[in-house]
Amino acid sequence: MKSFLDFWLELSWFANLLTIVLGAYSLYKVVMISLKFVSNKFSKEYVYSDVSSYLEAKKYSSYNKLSKSVVIVDDNPENYPVDYLRDFGFTVKVIESISLSDISQLYNYDLIILDITGIVLEDPVRGGLELLKRIKEVDPTKLIISASSKRFDPTLTDFFKLSDSQIKTPISETNLENKINEMFKKKFCPQTTASKLDEYILGKNISPSDKSKLMTITLKYIEGVFSGPDFLKKCSWISSELNIHKYKELTDNLKGLM
């Protein structure tokens, strides 16, 4: 022990320097760890691995049926269980014939179920196709279901292909209910849009820590902590791996549904 103390005294200036440096470093680390602890304790930190799990925790699971409206444009409305849909919670309007000049009234509905024959005054044979083309020209995102039992007719192929989905009429209660639900979920359900957002990130070469950082920024943007331009600025560090404008567009879609 004595020899050790003698050795230490012989080093005198070096020992002092070592004590000061090590002491200062230890003090610095203690302060930093404390600061991090306090910051974690009081700042909003997200623990969600993806946007879907965030929505699940926040109970955003479906769209609001009561706010959704459906218009059925068909000269044979008896082919649809209209009362059943109304009982189910949808606002349903039936139009048996329409003029092309009145097309604007259809834009107010969230979903249009469209027949092809006997509905347009100006073209009773294939007016539904013209109606569909015009609506999609004005609003390509408008949900349209083509409704006809004439799938066998090769001249109607465009009518079926241009629509978002197809049904055969007559149609049963549950089949139509499922179809409408599925269409609305695709467009209006936050969970579906969140899955698209998560899928977009999934294929990219992003490390887990970067993903966690991106998730925090995204969720803060969704909650309105900062603006769109700020969101783009904050995401700029990952722009080499991700098209941040496309990412913002998907996030905005989700934000709009919440």
């Binding site: 004439k150 799938r151 066998f152 007719d153 090769p154 192929t157 989905s165 007559p170």
Partner: protein, 361 residues
């Protein structure tokens, strides 16, 4: 369509004639062949891939595709023929046989205009004729909806429980209505192959689809013809598909019922590396090699098939193949002789097989 194009090109009224082959088959009544081509039996020019090619005899061929038909105009002095390679004899033999690419393209354009117009006319005529089919299609759907409602009024927590509690008449009406709707869907694909890709895509287990279809057919037809289906293999994989997929199962099983001479029909479904492998095996009339290559053509029926069954129209396998195409696979057919005969018809083990890609549609 190939028959119509052949007729147009052979017609005396069609005055822009070239010596051509459609799908590797020479059109006899079009322009005469080059004297060199008439002695060339191999005709390698029929296999050229695209554009202009010059053969070993220093003659050009031009190839194009119109309405999925390969068209080759051959035996001409074209743009790519090396002027130095044209001997005096070749020049003399080729009098009036100079054809530039621009002229060939003009010829193709004219032919395309005519065929497109014919296609439109055929579609419009078909649409008019089929208009009377509209109401029966709706009635078939309505019968199916009503039979489902009848079953749903019975006691039970699930549809299958309620179905079990129905009497045999209701069960029969439901099964027949299902077959009726599916038969209508087959006709839809027959008249409009594009309709195979209509409707929703959904993820389904192919084993379950075949099981469901065989159960319906067994109750509706199998019992009557004393046929039994054996569902073999192990498959747990689900694949994304169009609503029309079940028609493949329907067509292949109905085809095997119609033509098998033994009571058992084996359906084997296994998960394989590429996706889900399906085999439908039955023992029936021998299908010759030449018939195998045509068996999926619209309206085609084998020699012995015609002798065995009078009510076939040769549409089931055509429809199945059309639906397979939109699902990105093809159905294969094999026929292995069994070395015995029934009613003077040689018997064979007939296998229809395909692999549904795991990626789905």
């Amino acid at each position: 369509m190939i028959g119509i194009i052949e007729e147009i090109l052979s017609s005396e009224d069609y005055n822009f004639k070239l010596s051509v082959a459609l799908n590797k088959k020479r059109i006899i009544n079009s322009a005469p062949e080059h004297i060199i081509c008439s002695t060339c039996h191999d005709k390698p020019c029929f296999d050229f891939l695209a554009g202009e090619e010059v053969c070993d005899n220093s003659l050009s061929s031009y190839r194009t595709v119109v309405n999925d038909i390969n068209i080759v105009a051959y035996g001409y002095l074209g743009d790519k023929v090396n002027a130095k390679a044209i001997t005096k004899k070749l020049r003399n033999d080729s009098k009036g046989r100079s054809l530039k690419l621009i002229h060939f393209e003009e010829w193709v354009k004219r032919l395309s205009l005519i065929t497109n117009q014919i296609n439109r006319t055929i579609s419009n005529n078909r649409s008019e004729v089929l208009h009377c089919f509209h109401d029966p299609v709706k009635w078939a759907t309505q019968v199916s909806i009503n039979s489902e409602r009848m079953i749903n009024r019975r006691d039970g927590d699930t549809f299958s429980e309620r179905f079990k509690n129905c009497n045999t008449d209701v069960k029969a009406i439901y099964k027949c209505s299902q077959l009726l709707v599916k038969s209508v869907e087959m006709v839809e694909v027959y008249f409009n192959p594009d309709s195979a890709a209509f409707g929703d895509t959904y993820k389904a287990n192919i084993y379950k689809i075949f099981d469901m279809v065989q159960a319906i057919i067994f109750h509706a037809e199998g019992k009557r013809y004393n046929k039994k289906f054996r569902l073999l293999g192990r498959s747990f994989r689900s694949v994304y598909m169009y609503e029309s997929f079940h028609i493949i199962a329907l067509s292949l099983i109905q085809n095997s019922i119609k033509y098998s001479k033994t009571s058992e029909i084996d359906i084997t479904i296994n998960d394989v590396k590429e996706g889900v492998g399906v085999e439908v095996v039955s023992h029936g009339p021998l299908i010759s090699e030449s018939e195998l290559s045509l068996i999926f053509n619209k309206g085609f029926r084998g020699k012995y098939a015609k002798a065995m069954s009078f009510d076939g129209m040769g549409i089931g396998l055509y429809i199945a193949q059309e639906i397979a195409k939109v699902h990105n696979f093809t159905i294969r057919a094999e026929s292995s002789p069994c070395n015995y005969q029934i009613e003077n018809i040689p018997m064979a083990k007939n296998t229809f097989s395909f692999t549904v890609p795991a990626i789905g549609i």
